[in-house]
Amino acid sequence: MSAISEKLYRRRRFKNGVALVLAGAATLFGLFWLVWILWTTLVNGIGALKPELFYQMTPPPGSDGGLANAFFGSMLMSLLAIVLGTPVGILAGTFLAEYARRSLLGESIRFVNDILLSAPSIVLGLFVYTLVVKQMGHFSGLAGAITLALIVLPVVVRTTDEMLKLVPSQMREAALSLGVPQWKVTVQVLYRSALPGIVTGVLLALARISGETAPLLFTALNNQFWSVDMSGPMASVPVVVFQYAMSPYDTWHSLAWAGAFMVTVFVLCTSLIARAIIARRKVAND
């Protein structure tokens, strides 16, 4: 009898050991790819960095140049996307948290927003293509910015909604009992308290759109030259990286690595800053 239970015990111990070792191995597996991918980007990217990147234009096939117009295009479109997407996102998040917290409409908007958050960005690109590009008759930086704004929107809605929910209701009640109208309570009391969270949301959205490639292929397209005209095609770093990486030229490959490196550094720094803001807020609240 005891021999059997001894055997059973050993088998259970063995199974446990195997499972835990596998769990550790899975974690190493995940970290392994992270290190490999970042290392590749770092080595190839730093090797390709040079000052010309920032003041020369994207070159014709086979020759050397920089990425100045792509950096500028990405900056312009991302900025406009944030400017377009953030206010609408904050207002919609306010609607969810303050005006429709438990209503059917609020729940369905929250549901749709969460789907929009994970929906393939390529679909949004096609949407803006039929809505803007086809109507205007040509690709444009404006259409690219609108697409990116649609990616910003759900991120900002979600964080605003969650951050406003975290604001204690005593604050609302205190302000309302003084006779302050609700819009003023929202703008001057709640937004102030939720500001770090909302800023984090905007930064996360910025990190997300700076690497977006697919939807820009059908909206902003690309432009080999310097352009400040938002109504015409516009270059962006991810699209240039895509085009150059797929080409057979070595000089283009090296430019693509430089662009990829810059995008990765920017995205990771932005999300680290976003995390730091949230972490500081948590400490301050404790």
Binding site: I109, F111, A119, V157, K184, V263
Partner: protein, 332 residues
């Protein structure tokens, strides 16, 4: 009060007027603000509906020309103007399936490690590092895949697979083919790496919601860590774990750039996972600028519509499953 006495009689009614005007203005401003936020909320609904309708509209030519055959035929002929979506649909499903086969067990392992096994000081940094993977833009995965991972696949992994798995009776044909490096298997592995952080972070978060007393009861009865994870934690969080898996699946189905780099853009239907193929998203990204006829463009937008419907359903299931855990928690 002293101030009342000092004021002339008319001033009192004037200040009452001012208060009433102020209240009126406040009410108007409140109403305006309510309209504003409601409008913004409805805009979110409109964005999703608009996306669906615009693609249905853009794809109407393809749907009306090819009808149901659009889903069941494999032709993709820009010159003959004959389009069928079976190859990209097949490629999307197969690459996503490979990705899930790898990512689900790995993510479970990571979540288990980070909630039950690892020493507490190790948990936060490792979890942040894994989540860092989710932040890397997909185009970086694509470039890394094309320039670094594909050569490794073609020189090392694929010859190994062909040699040892190729001769097997049933699974054999999946692993036969030239060692090109690009293809369904490579795309599936890259997708798996991309969705692991999404699935594992959902799993980790829901594992943390399991009440300590449930776990401690099981430990007190002599369970091993694995038995607690498998028989207590997993059943408690089942619906949310499925939700997390579907969230990852939704990502895998719609991922574009990484797949475009390593899939090979070949419109052919093969049993072998080592051959180049195509996915819906990669087809659209590769061919959109080349579409020279209305029917070609319309077919690509119709593909986008199909992708939208599939991901919508998958993500809706994910959301519903995740909501179920929250509701259960509320009841306890």
């Amino acid at each position: 009060m002293s101030t009342d006495q000092a004021l002339p009689a008319g001033a009192l009614s004037a200040s009452a007027d001012a208060v009433a005007r102020r209240a009126d203005a406040d009410r108007r401003a409140d109403r305006f603000f309510r309209y504003l936020v409601t409008g913004a909320g409805l805009f979110v609904l409109a964005a999703l509906t608009g996306a669906a309708l615009s693609m249905l509209w853009g794809g109407r030519l393809a749907f009306s020309t090819f009808g149901f055959e659009f889903l069941t035929t494999t032709d993709w002929d820009a010159v003959g103007k004959k389009f069928g979506a079976l190859v990209p649909i097949y490629g999307t499903l197969v690459t996503a399936l490979i990705a899930m086969l790898i990512a689900v067990p790995v993510s479970f392992g990571i979540a288990l490690f980070l909630t039950e096994v690892a020493p507490p000081w190790l948990r936060t940094p490792v979890a942040s590092a894994i989540e860092l993977l989710a932040g890397i833009p997909s185009i970086i995965y694509g470039m890394w895949g094309l320039f670094v991972f594909v050569p490794v696949m073609s020189t090392t992994v694929i010859p190994f697979l062909t040699r040892y798995l190729g001769p097997l009776p049933i699974f054999g044909p999946l692993f036969q083919g030239p060692p090109l490096g690009i293809g369904m298997l490579t795309a599936g592995i890259v997708l798996a790496i991309m969705v692991i952080p999404f699935i594992s972070s959902v799993m980790r978060e829901v594992f943390l919601t399991v009440p300590t007393r449930l776990k401690e009861s099981a430990y007190a009865l002599g369970s091993t860590t694995w038995e607690v994870a498998w028989n207590v934690v997993l059943p408690y969080t089942r619906s949310a774990v499925i939700g997390g898996i579907f969230l990852g699946l939704g990502r895998a189905l719609g991922e574009t750039m990484a797949v475009t780099f390593v899939l090979g853009n070949a419109h052919q239907l093969t049993a072998s996972l080592l051959m180049p193929g195509n996915s819906i998203a990669a087809t659209i990204a590769n061919e959109f600028s080349e579409a020279d006829s209305d029917i070609y463009l319309s077919s690509l937008i119709a593909l986008g519509f199909l992708l939208f419907i599939v991901t919508f359903v998958v993500l809706a299931i994910a959301k519903l499953m995740l909501m179920r855990l929250n509701r259960n928690e509320g009841n306890r």
